[in-house]
Symmetry: C2
Subunit: 190 residues, 2 copies
DNA sequence: CCCAGAAGTGAATAATTATTCATTTATATT
DNA sequence: AATATAAATGAATAATTATTCACTTCTGGG
């Protein structure tokens, strides 16, 4: 009996991400994904019920991958600024190195594939950062602005850093990282 | 002889923007656009050669609409901070009130419809802001960080403000505007 | 008030894309 | 080594969507 090669799931995911990065969700076809993954079209349907299932399942994987990376090495007990810097850099690095995932998530957000519930789940991903920001305000580090806007401010700048590194072929050198951190930090600090 | 109703072009544009906002470029069909615009499918082909032409033409209109709004009431001779505030607020207001256009431009950027040349054109849209930021650095208002990153920082936060106002149904009150301006300004200021 | 000619229509057709399935290939088990 | 069973294939089919076109509806000019 031939056994299922679970690597193929990843091959399919990576092929999809690559194509979405290159030409968006609108440009995706099952044939293109199969070709990119080096498989026959029919094979996709062994691993996924249909196109929707593939997209939704990949979306889920991307969200989990983000959640894993964002709070790596973060200890909620550590001093505020230290913890903040770790999370900030984690998110930046993740968005840059897995830019294809970020684009995919962004595109899914405005697509017929993802429903409102799933969007809500995604938003919960930032919960530990929200808590940390609240703590930062209590400890007097941060401006007394609604955490909702503080978080948006941070996410916005980080997303744009990732776009610029990718589109303009910039490197994420320590200098670049430091300059951008300074921009963020001076923005939110009391 | 029946004469062409140029309002229809706008009807078609608005219908497309509405649908893209609701379910992304991936979800767009000519039939859906026609239905949304209250026209027959065939009518779309009187006003546009085909789907690609519709998308590209709308993209162009959106870019022009942005360029018009971004630098409204801006006088390059006025004091730095004053000019900066005007442009900043123009962009925020435009992104919020024409959020559908922002989403559309963003989605087109990652789609098979828009080519590299067109993307380059779009990026030139910010030229007057780039100049102002350079001047701000010369006059000692801003941090000595590559204008490339200063611009990215500002665009990123503004985009996220627009997303949050829209998705979470917030109002762009003077308070909200002021708080977010403070975040941006404190970030970039020397 | 008629007519020419273009706008507007939507069902028919063409093109593209998703999905299936008969067949082939591979490999665990005996 | 033979068998059984599931993976893998890709051409065939189904479904969806873009585009056309024969026809109808307007309306400006005569």
């Amino acid at each position: 009996m031939k056994v299922r090669d679970e690597n193929k799931t990843d091959q399919i995911y990576e092929a999809t991400l690559k194509l979405v990065k290159a030409s968006g969700l609108a440009g995706i076809t099952m044939q293109a994904v199969a070709r990119e993954a080096g498989l026959a079209t029919g094979t996709l349907y062994i691993y996924f019920k249909n196109k929707d299932a593939l997209i939704i399942s990949l979306f889920d994987r991307c969200v989990k991958s983000s959640a894993r990376d964002f709070f790596k090495n973060y200890n909620p007990q550590s001093p505020f600024k230290e913890g903040f810097r770790i999370i900030w850099e984690n998110i930046v690095r993740h968005r840059v190195t897995r830019f294809d995932e970020s684009i995919f998530i962004e595109q899914c957000f405005h697509s017929p594939f993802i429903d409102e519930d799933t969007k809500t789940t995604l938003r919960k991903m930032f919960a530990p950062l929200v808590q940390l920001l609240d703590r930062g305000k209590n400890e007097g580090w941060l401006k007394a602005i609604d955490t909702f806007w503080l978080l948006g401010f941070l996410i916005g700048t980080i997303n744009e850093i990732a776009k610029r590194v990718t589109y303009f072929n910039r490197k994420l050198t320590p200098d670049v990282l430091e300059a951008n951190f300074q921009l963020c930090w001076d923005g939110i600090k009391q």
